[in-house]
């Protein structure tokens, strides 16, 4: 029985040789058939001794030449192979007398090719592995390539082995497949028991695929080795190297993650060492991309994670990333949706769904449009802004949109509207817990259409809406009542709301479209363009485009406001037709005692770009009082100005590296007052994480009676996690940097702290009866501002019930109340909530309305004057 393989060309050559032999053997007396058989047997023995797995035509001619037919064969291989002849194989060492390997079994095709393809397809199309087993199979491009390579390589090798070939490419393919199979077998090893159990319902095969594939690969390697082991080293190693290259990003990320874990959990020395290594093996940009809230990846087990619990707390990872880089977490633009990997696979499960954390960026979710319509009432130094937001979801599953919004200082959300099937639905305002649980039940559990707004610390609200339908949109509107801040130049201003943090993308070209109306002139700064034009009725309309990205904050100023006169407005929410709220501006009592000024400077890498403005600001403050400056670095450091030198020299002498939690420095600054009066200005870049949950600082701020005042000045729209811990009514004050105006903002802070200029505060008082009839009528927004203050006062006095009732009645989102829009009346009833009447909500007047309004006011004023004259005449 011949066990050598013959090429067709070799067989035809042998046939030709035998024809020749038949002619010569005739007269010899030998048995021709026997001789031919003996010679063929001899040739095969020769081939075996030369370790030829396949006998080619060249081999045959050489052997025939060697057995004494000099006119037939040749000792040296001929030129290029004949068409159809396979390349000559080099000899292999005898396999200890073992027979040539049998053809590969079809089961190898099943385990090594079919199952991997099935697993990949299911994952790409339906996230099957992720949905069923909470395991994300492919989270990187390189992993997709690695996985796709396995069935391709093993399919190729299978085909080669069926033909009895095992060339360099076959070995390279098997080498690459081996590395990939071993890597994934190790990764899936902890899931093996689940895979075995899951085979009951057949789906467990998905988890067993790496093991089947590894088995198939090893069997094929054995067959290839028997065919031609001499090439195992070169081709095999080459393939292994290629696969190892594809594994490098994963291994690098695992190393990075491990080091971040040391930063998050390790001792001070371990942290310092890990930070140092991270700066060597990675870059700030790459580290900032680490997303700790993704679904469980097969490799996470070896980092200490499970499908139910990530290896490291996402909050700690975020903190560690910040510590190393000083950068906030990356928020990629929705352009990421164009990447092939994202196109080929659906986003992972949202682990922060329904929570009050932002969580990971949802790659298919984006802000589709944003517009702000509002009016500014100069007479009452108040404004009302309606911010309409539309979210678009391109994913296959519904998503939740979440964002933290920084409101203008002192502002309050006074309206919330959701569009449901094209109809506007107003919110219910109620206790915070009630609205939150209604949202959870209706949105997250029943997956119907609500939106929820609650406060999220000082001058911040948290907005979440779910479900934004697959391939659909969701539109909602926030109404914001805004008190303007008077400035020293006789004007009044407010900052536009901005998105501090979000779980959706924002296209780089997207802009907030702004439309503001006022009887006064308006100036918008910080936007890309603004045009003011006269509108009917003597009003002005300001149209502007503002970029929504951090650091692009814009503000509106009304020049020439002066000190607004006393105004009043009916409290229509109280149920008492006579109830009014009076607003007037009263002078702030100047401080008589000397005030100490302390400036806390963030020592993070972000501040490097702000040193010039900061130094100028300190110089300006120094004109009035020399501030004490403390820098928040690895340890708080009191900074002194060199003798005769400048603050710029002092600041530039420091190393601003990585990210630092400033809370410790603020606490040190606070403690340094030791009961004396004074003011702290905290100037900082992004503070996305708290290293120690804010320490004692939030308590000191809320409770301290004699401590310094704290003004927080985040630069370039930087987020401050500490502000999220403070009450919405905290005595701390938020001051926006307003870009290059930082030095003048710091100067203004110093002047106010030292009472160097007259300052005015807004006084809002509830009046029973008409109050001062001579006072101008204002819009109901001053009533809302009053209600906000009053609810805060009641809260301070621990009268929670009255505070909640007051805030809810006036439709405000406060520390104690929130707003939620549900879909149906039944849902409201079930939650014990009641949506507000559309007639009771504030609105931005139409231009025509201004005319009516203005005329109405005019008649009202004239009527009152007429009434007064009549009264005086009667007197």
């Amino acid at each position: 029985m011949s066990t050598n393989l013959w090429t067709t060309a070799a067989e035809s050559e042998l046939s030709r040789y035998f024809d020749h032999l038949r002619q010569t053997l005739g007269p010899t007396g030998a048995d021709t058939v026997e001789v031919l058989d003996d010679i063929k047997r001899h040739i095969e023995e020769e081939a075996r001794s030369k370790r030829l797995g396949v006998i080619t035509r060249h081999d045959l001619r050489k052997i025939i030449h060697g057995i004494g037919e000099p006119g037939w064969g040749t000792a040296e291989p001929e030129g290029p192979e004949d068409p159809g002849e396979t390349p000559r194989e080099t000899p292999i060492p005898p396999a200890s007398g073992k027979p040539a390997p049998a053809k590969p079994s079809g089961w190898l095709l099943v385990g090594g090719v079919a199952l991997p393809i099935l697993a990949i397809l299911l994952e790409v199309v339906a996230n099957a592995v992720e949905v069923l087993f909470r395991v994300q199979l492919m989270s990187r491009w390189s992993e997709l390539l690695l996985l796709a390579m396995v069935p391709l390589a093993q399919g190729f090798a299978f085909g080669q082995l069926v033909e009895g070939k095992a060339g360099p490419m076959t070995h390279a393919a098997l080498g690459a497949a081996l590395v990939a199979n071993v890597a994934y077998a190790i990764a899936f090893l902890p899931l093996l028991p689940f895979g075995l159990l899951g085979t009951v319902v057949l789906l467990g095969f998905l988890l067993l695929t790496p093991f089947f594939s590894l088995w198939a690969c090893l069997v094929m390697i054995g067959k290839a080795q028997r065919l031609s082991p001499a090439r195992m080293t070169r081709g095999f190693l080459g393939g292994m190297g290629f696969a190892a290259l594809l594994l490098t990003p994963t291994l690098h990320d695992m190393l990075q993650y491990e080091l971040l874990g040391d930063v998050a959990h390790g001792s001070k020395e371990a942290r310092a060492r890990a930070v140092k290594w991270l700066r060597v093996v990675s870059t700030p940009t790459r580290i900032a991309k680490v997303d700790a809230t993704t679904s469980y990846s097969p490799w996470d087990f070896w980092l200490g994670g499970t499908p139910w619990q990530p290896a490291l707390d996402p909050g700690k990872i975020e903190r560690a990333v910040f510590q190393v880089t000083g950068l906030p977490r990356e928020r990629p633009a929705p352009g990421a949706r164009d990447s092939l990997l994202v196109q080929l696979s659906e986003p992972t499960r949202d682990l922060a769904l329904g929570s009050s954390t932002i969580g990971e960026i949802r790659p298919r979710l984006e802000l589709a449009s944003s517009r702000m319509d509002g009016f500014v009432e100069a007479a009452s130094a108040a404004a009302y802004l309606e911010w309409t937001v539309e979210m678009a979801n391109a994913a296959m599953r519904a998503e939740e949109g979440r964002m933290i919004v920084r409101l203008p200082s002192g502002a309050v959300v006074s309206r919330l509207t959701l569009w449901v099937n094209g109809e506007e639905r107003e919110a219910a305002f109620a206790g915070r817990g009630d609205v939150a649980s209604a949202y959870q039940k209706v949105a997250v559990v029943q997956r119907r259409d609500p939106v929820l707004v609650t406060t999220h610390g000082l001058d911040q609200v948290f907005v979440q809406c779910f479900p934004i339908p697959s391939k659909g949109t969701m539109k909602f509107r926030l109404g914001i009542t805004i008190p303007l801040e008077l400035d020293a130049a006789g004007g009044a201003a407010f900052d536009l709301p901005e998105i501090l943090d979000r779980n959706f993308g924002v296209e780089s070209e997207l802009r907030h479209r702004i439309w503001l109306q006022s009887s006064a002139n308006l100036e918008l700064s910080g936007g890309e363009s603004s045009v003011m034009a006269a509108e009917p009725g003597g009003k002005n309309g300001l149209s502007a485009m503002v970029a929504p990205h951090p650091g692009q904050g814009a503000w509106v100023r009304v020049p020439g406001v002066g000190i607004p006169p006393e105004v009043r407005a009916k409290d229509l929410m109280s149920g008492d037709p006579q109830a009014h709220v009076r607003q007037r501006f009263v002078p702030v009592q100047a401080k008589t005692k000397p005030q100490t000024l302390v400036v806390v400077v963030d020592g993070s890498a972000f501040m490097r770009g702000q040193l010039g403005l900061l130094a100028e600001g300190l110089e300006r403050v120094s004109r009035f009082a020399e501030p004490r400056v403390i820098v928040a670095g690895d340890s708080p450091l009191w900074l002194t100005r060199p003798k005769g030198g400048s603050w710029s020299e002092a600041l530039h002498g420091l190393e601003f590296l990585g990210g630092h939690d400033n809370v410790e420095a603020v606490e040190v600054a606070w403690s340094s007052f030791a009961g004396k009066e004074g003011a702290i200005l905290w100037v900082h870049g992004p503070q996305p994480s708290l290293f120690n949950r804010g320490g004692s600082l939030p308590q000191w701020i809320e409770r301290s009676q004699n401590g310094p005042s704290l003004t927080v000045l985040p630069l370039a729209g930087a987020i401050n996690a500490l502000l999220g811990l403070l009450d919405a009514d905290s005595p701390a004050r938020l001051l926006r940097g307003r870009g290059d105006l930082l030095p003048s903002r710091m100067e203004g802070w110093a002047k106010a702290a030292l009472s160097l200029e007259p300052a005015w505060r807004r006084e809002l008082t509830r009046m029973e009866g008409d109050g001062n009839p001579a006072a101008k009528e204002a819009t109901g927004h001053i009533v809302r501002l009053w209600a906000r203050e009053e609810a805060a006062r009641l809260h301070d006095e621990r009268d929670i019930k009255r505070a909640t009732a007051l805030a809810a009645r006036h439709q405000l989102v406060t520390q104690l109340t929130g707003a939620v829009v549900l879909e149906t009346k039944e849902q409201y009833d079930e939650a014990g909530l009641e949506a507000v009447s559309p007639n009771s909500v504030p609105a931005v007047p139409e231009p025509g309305t201004w005319v009516i309004f203005g005329v109405g006011l005019l008649f009202l004023a004239l009527g009152r004057r007429g009434g007064l004259r009549r009264a005086r005449a009667a007197d």
Binding site: T3, N4, A30, D31, D38, R41, E44, R48, I67, E69
Partner: protein, 137 residues
């Protein structure tokens, strides 16, 4: 120069004669070698052929030996049998038949006596060496 040319021509003649003679000798002795190789025990054909090919001076190839072996088998001088092998094709083993043993014994006896005679001729002076050549008729 004439003598050098005459010497070179002579060497060529000697070589040609010797070559022809060795071919005739090998032809005659090939069967003897094959049968002697099988005298002690049965041999694996491939190994037998390899051994014979590598014998110095025999100068024979496999393409000559296999037909010879077949002829000897047909003549009943050697026998062949196939043995199945796990390592490759079935192996052919040759052995002498009783007839072959008799023949090889006779051949060996004859060659020995022939060699003896040749040696005798080499060492002993014969009468013809000392008689003058009578060229007269």
């Amino acid at each position: 120069m004439y003598h050098a040319m005459q010497g070179s021509w002579l060497d060529t003649q000697v070589n040609d004669f010797f070559e022809n003679w060795t071919v005739q000798v090998r032809k005659g002795l090939l069967e003897l070698f094959v049968l002697n190789a099988l005298a002690d025990k049965e041999c694996y054909a491939y190994q037998l052929v390899k051994t014979l090919v590598e014998l110095p001076g025999l100068g024979v190839g496999e393409s000559t030996l296999y037909p010879l072996l077949s002829r000897l088998r047909v003549q009943g001088i050697i026998s062949a049998r196939l043995v199945e092998s796990n390592e490759g094709p079935a192996r052919k083993y040759y052995a002498l038949t009783p007839k072959g043993r008799k023949i090889v014994a006779s051949m060996n006896t004859y060659i020995s006596s022939l060699s003896q005679s040749a040696r005798t001729l080499q060492t002993k002076e014969t009468p013809h060496e000392h008689e003058s050549v009578d060229h007269s008729g």
